[in-house]
Structures are given as structure tokens and as C-alpha cells.
Symmetry: C2
Subunit: 282 residues, 2 copies
């Protein structure tokens, strides 16, 4: 299935929001959505069979993302949140072109906030190799304000360290110190956490950067922008969904149990189960 | 394509050996094959689009491995080396059942050597979460010698540390110290490097474990066993292949350039190029 979708549908107010990520990191975005628009239903997909995306190519990440969008559309989702910086950087433009429902990535909202809060015009971005290589944060921010300088730094070890649970640990401090030293030397005053795993080591990052630096969490800004988008399009659900309406559904491409364990450490909602799907069939 | 293959063929002496891994780690096995049987042609496949396997389920790793075997058979390979501990642990039995050509994994040769060299009957295995969870090393070793005790330890950060190039680094020392401390306390005298990335931090592992512990590198043992297998089946190629015969071919599912860079740091042969294939189509 490529190009125009076979099953077009009109987005409805009481339909769920689709959210996807390469794995568990996107749950930091789900957490913010639940906080800010608690009446919405959510269908989440985490591509745990093919995680991580951050070291992979644009072509591959786009192909994976297209499969996931086709899967989410089987739930008649009213909008799709690309809760992965790498997929937002590499695939969002292509996904939007082929889709009739509104989509939102995590990069633009984060970029906009950073451009607003910087005072000295020096913004740092930490993210995966792919997101940094794409220059997407720099491009968005400079389109908003040409006088801002953006410094990107890929931090490939942060995701494995988070997934190993070393959220507060001397090793994570040491690695953060190495990755961030050049951003400190450059005297940035704003740092974008350009990967959905990074808010989980926010306190380490804040300590290493020092008090003078504002940390921007794109998850928070994305949830805010999602609320505006749904309001504008008259798609916001004002009432809580009824009982038994499957409020939050979680799907993964591999290892549902491990996902559930990690998910419950991020979202305090109590995720009881996740289902496994063979995403390559979509 | 499942079950019986559509294109059966008779393995021939001058056909290449197929080798596959989840990514670059299997090149440590290729390095040993080139050293021990230098007249052979090799077709290597690294699944860089879906790496790593070590945190994924048996079902997923088996599905991925079956696709790769179908791909390698398009080269009429005379044998297939599963140069990935996780795939050897999870998929080799299934792959062998469906195949008419000989296959060899990295687990059995490593297990056999460890059972031979231990003096105090206490063997440690370090590997990915999947390989440790499968208990495959313990099962093989105890089938050879019931009086041996095997202690497994998953070391999920070693692969990202190696891929980040921290081969000689205080952070790798610190993490190795944590992972290995319980194996030191248990007083093992033999340690199996049960992931193809680990020989690249062999000196760190040796330093942490101390001189009394023998490190077993399954890559070396696998190449030895491959030579025996080919000799037995009268498939060993005695003469160097002619000029222009594409001696070593490398395929990946993503990012050929990055692969080539890393590959050249492992194999001193001078890998000039690798080709990208869409492995999901096999």
C-alpha cells in the first residue's frame, strides 16, 4: 500500500489520538498529553522490534514510519503524533504529504519554544546521531530567527544508559560531562532535549549544564501544540470517554512484557498490558 | 516463502560462505575465518536496519534470521555461519530444520572450548540479555559435562560502548567492573565472551577479571570448527579464488557507509564498499 490510502475516513471528535515512537521514549510525550488533555483516548505504538531509529538512515526510518501510520489508521485515529525526534526529522514531511489527517511532530514545538526563551541567541541541541545530522532543529529555529546560533551534539550513549536504568549514576554524569562540555564552552543559554528519552535524565543534564541554562522539553510543547491543533479543528474531546471505552491502548512490535515494565516507570497511569503486532505486514 | 525453499541447489566447493550478524559484531568472526581459511569467498550480511537483536524476542529474531538465510541462499552459499550469539541461541535450530546446507553457530564452539579449558568447573558467560535468558551456553556446556557450573551475566551496555568507540576508556572499565564483580566473587576460572562485539574490549575484560581467568572467544573456535566441517564435507576450497572473483562481499540493511568505516577498524583487509538491501522483502 503506497500513495493514497485505501481506507480514507473523516476524523471524528471521539476518535483516539495515534502516537508512535521507535520504542518507549515516546511515552514521555504520552505522559504530557495525558496531563494536558486528559479526556482524549490514545493508541500508542512503540517499534520495539526495530528500535533504535537514531542510528539509522532517512530511507529506513521513513519506511518504518509509513508502516506505523498505516497501522494507526486502522484505529481511525483523528490525528497522529510522531513522538520520536528521529522520525519527526526524517519522515514527517513525507508522512504529511500522503495523509489526510493532521500530524504533529516533536521537533517544531521544541524549536519554537527554544527560539522564544533564548536571551543570548545561543541554543544547544542534544539528540541522536540521525536528528543532529538532519540539521532539522537548526533549520526550524533559523527560519524563525536568523540571529540565533544553534549547536548540535549527538549523544548516542544516553538512550542505552536510560534503558539500563542508570538515571542517577556517576557513569551517566561522566558521559553527560563529556558530551556537554563543548556546549558549556560555547556558552549556550538554552538546551533542547531533542530525544524523547532525555527528559528521564533531566536532573543530571540540569546539574551538568548549571542553573543559567534553560532546558526545553519538546514533549511538553508538543502536547500544548496538540491541544491547540485539536481545538482549532474542532476535534478536542471535552468529556471523559465512557467506561469500557479502551482509553489507552499500547501496541509494540516486540516484547510486550518488557515494554509494560518500562512504561509503568514513566507513566503512573498503570499500564496493564500491551499487544504485539507484526508491523512489517503493514 | 516458508518451509521448503523454492530454489534448492547443491553446495559447491568454490561457492562462497554466507555469514550473518545483527550488525558489525559478526565481522570479528569474519576476521577469524579469513585468518584460518584464507582461500574462501565470503558473503556477509549485517542487519544494521534492525540492530540490535540482543534485547528482542525469540520470535522476532527467528523471523529476521529466516529472511537473511533466504537472502544469503541467493548467492548459492555452501554453508552459513550464524555469527551472532543471539541468533545462534534463538534461531539456529529452526534455521537448520528448514535448510539443506550445513549451518554453524557461534555458541556450540565457544561452549565446547570453555568446557575443555575450565579447571575449577566454574564458567562465566557474558552476553546480551537474549542470549543469557535463553540459557543456551549453560545447556550446551552441561550436556558435555554435568559437573560444571555456569554463571551468566547480561551486559547490555557493552555493545553501545563498543559502537561509541570507547574500547579503552575509564567508563568502559567502570561498567565492566560492575558487570563482572559477581563473576569474580563466584571465582570463575573461564569467561566466555558470548557476544561478537566483546572481543573488541578483550583487554579491558582481561584486566578486570585478572590473570587467573581464561577468556574464550567463540569467534576463534567457530572458524576452527567451520574448517573441520568444510573438510569433512569435502567443501574446503584449497586454491585462492581467481582475480575478479568478488572474494569478500558485504551487504547491510541500512547505512553502508557507516558500516564500511566500522568494518575497516575490525578487518584490516580494506573493505571498500558494502551494498544496502531491503531485507524485509526476503
Amino acid at each position: 500500500m503506497t500513495g493514497t490510502e485505501r481506507n480514507e475516513y473523516q476524523p471524528k471528535k471521539d476518535a483516539p489520538i495515534g502516537v508512535f515512537d521507535s520504542g518507549v521514549g515516546g511515552l514521555t510525550v504520552v505522559r504530557e498529553i495525558i496531563r494536558q488533555i486528559p479526556n482524549e483516548k490514545i493508541v500508542y505504538f512503540g517499534d520495539t522490534a526495530r528500535v533504535p531509529y537514531g542510528s539509522k538512515s532517512q530511507e529506513t526510518v521513513t519506511r518504518f514510519s509509513e508502516q506505523i501510520v498505516r497501522f494507526l489508521k486502522t484505529f481511525q485515529v483523528k490525528t497522529i503524533v510522531v513522538a520520536c525526534n528521529t522520525a519527526s526529522a526524517y519522515a514527517l514531511d513525507t508522512l504529511e504529504k500522503d495523509s489526510h489527517i493532521p500530524m504533529i511532530g516533536v521537533v517544531k514545538p521544541g524549536a519554537r519554544m527554544a527560539a522564544e526563551v533564548t536571551k543570548n541567541g545561543r541554543i544547544g541541541v542534544i539528540a541522536t546521531e540521525a536528528t543532529i545530522g538532519s540539521q532539522i532543529y537548526a533549520n526550524y529555529i533559523q527560519a524563525l530567527n536568523k540571529n540565533v546560533a544553534i549547536y548540535g551534539k549527538a549523544c548516542p550513549l544516553f538512550v542505552p544508559l536510560v534503558e539500563e536504568g542508570l538515571l542517577e549514576d556517576p557513569v551517566t554524569d561522566e558521559i553527560a560531562g563529556r558530551y556537554l562540555s563543548e556546549l558549556i564552552d560555547i556558552d549556550i543559554d538554552t538546551l533542547i532535549l531533542g530525544c524523547t528519552h532525555y527528559p528521564l535524565i533531566r536532573s543530571t543534564l540540569g546539574r551538568v549544564m548549571g542553573k543559567g541554562v534553560t532546558l526545553v522539553n519538546p514533549a511538553y510543547e508538543t502536547a500544548r501544540e496538540l491541544k491547540s491543533l485539536l481545538t482549532e479543528q474542532n476535534l478536542l474531546h471535552e468529556e471523559p470517554p465512557g467506561l469500557g471505552s479502551n482509553r489507552y491502548q499500547f501496541y509494540v512490535s516486540d516484547k510486550a512484557e518488557k515494554f509494560v515494565r518500562f512504561a509503568n516507570s514513566i507513566i503512573k497511569y498503570g499500564i496493564l498490558s500491551a499487544k504485539t503486532v507484526n508491523i512489517e505486514e503493514y
